[in-house]
């Protein structure tokens, strides 16, 4: 019975690690978005150097918004790695 328990926990932990890694593929989206944002800002400053202050401010907000999805993925990955809710579920299941 004990070996079964260890095996079950091992499977859950391994799958969680894979899940955390997979979740961070979401880093692609914000990367592309922020790159676009920065590139367009550079273009805009090149066209209108006197408006660089306002453009930079807008760019920072755009960057922050683009980052949101990546941060959701990061939170999910951290939850899976350090505060795994699935292990609790497994404990409940095994106790039954």
């Amino acid at each position: 019975m004990d070996e079964m328990k260890i095996l079950a926990e091992g499977i859950v932990l391994g799958a969680s690690a894979l899940g955390a890694g997979t979740a961070m593929i979401a880093g692609l989206g914000p990367g592309i978005g922020e790159g676009f944002c920065g590139g367009k800002a550079v273009e805009a400053i090149g066209r209108q150097p006197e408006a660089s202050g306002a453009i930079t401010r807008t760019m920072i907000i755009g960057d922050a918004l683009a980052e949101t999805t990546g941060l959701y993925a990061l939170v999910i990955a951290l939850l899976l790695l350090y505060a795994n809710p699935l292990l609790g579920k497994l404990g409940e299941y095994l106790a039954r």
């Binding site: 306002a54 401010r57 920072i60 907000i61 922050a64 918004l65 980052e67 949101t68 941060l71 959701y72 990061l74 939170v75 951290l78 350090y82 505060a83 809710p85």
Partner: protein, 239 residues
């Protein structure tokens, strides 16, 4: 659910801790905890209080000391920022925005003193986001009264109602998670670098810390106030 996570390398392994619970069951109330985040926040408040008291002592009409010039520069920076982002109509929010920025920035910089960032705790950032959420609702109710408040949820079309309500709650959630995620990412990555380099941790952690502890700290505080300001001023029924 644990409120936050933290890494600390201890003798070859990495352990994960939430914010330290200093006193459990405060005043005999079960579940009421005094955590590390609250203690560090008290330190932040003390620092802010001392700085403000020093900067505003012996003010003159024409600034004589560098202290007063610095204080006036800081205040005029926030006055300009609020006026350009929210408009002159919202001059009442200047004090709140300035206090919010200073509070978040000093909290983020606490990592430099070796303390735990209070903002790497989702309860702290969540509280700050809820204050912004309340201000958004307050501003919408104040500018639109009851009718305008209700009407703002069925605009532009009535079937948008569920999306508008979800969007209303998604904003503070994203605001809280953005600050929390950035600060916890800095903490975790720094701990991982220390763990990976072991005894060779000489120059690289300093460069990483320069980005995560200083640049990211100031930037995230700035982003938090900019987004708060645009959320509050966009919840205006009169425009």
């Amino acid at each position: 659910m644990p409120t936050a996570l933290m890494l600390a390398s201890e003798g070859g392994g990495i352990t994960v801790n939430g914010p330290l619970v200093v006193v459990d069951n405060l005043f005999g109330i079960p579940g009421l905890k005094l955590t590390e985040s609250i203690i560090v926040q008290w330190i932040v408040i003390a620092i802010l209080l001392v700085v403000v008291l020093i900067l505003t002592r012996n003010m003159k009409v024409v600034p004589e000391t560098k202290r007063q010039v610095a204080a006036e520069w800081i205040v005029s920076f926030f006055v300009d920022t609020v006026d350009t982002t929210m408009g002159k109509k919202y001059h009442r929010y200047r004090c709140y925005i300035m206090a919010l920025f200073c509070f978040i920035m000093i909290q983020n910089l606490m990592g430099l003193l070796g303390l735990r960032n209070p903002t790497a705790d989702v309860s702290v950032t969540g509280t700050l986001a809820i204050i912004t959420f309340c201000l958004v609702q307050f501003n919408r109710g104040k500018t639109g009264k009851f009718k305008g408040y209700m009407k703002s949820f069925v605009e532009p079309l009535p079937f948008m109602l569920p999306f508008n309500i979800i969007g209303e709650f998604a904003n503070p959630l994203a605001l809280a998670l953005r600050l929390f995620g950035n600060m916890i990412a800095g903490t975790v990555i720094n701990a991982l670098i220390y763990f990976a380099l072991g005894k060779l941790a000489i120059l690289i952690p300093a460069i990483a810390s320069l980005y995560f502890d200083i640049f990211s700290a100031v930037m995230q505080a700035y982003i938090f106030i900019m987004l708060s300001m645009s959320y509050i001023s966009s919840a205006d029924c009169e425009e």
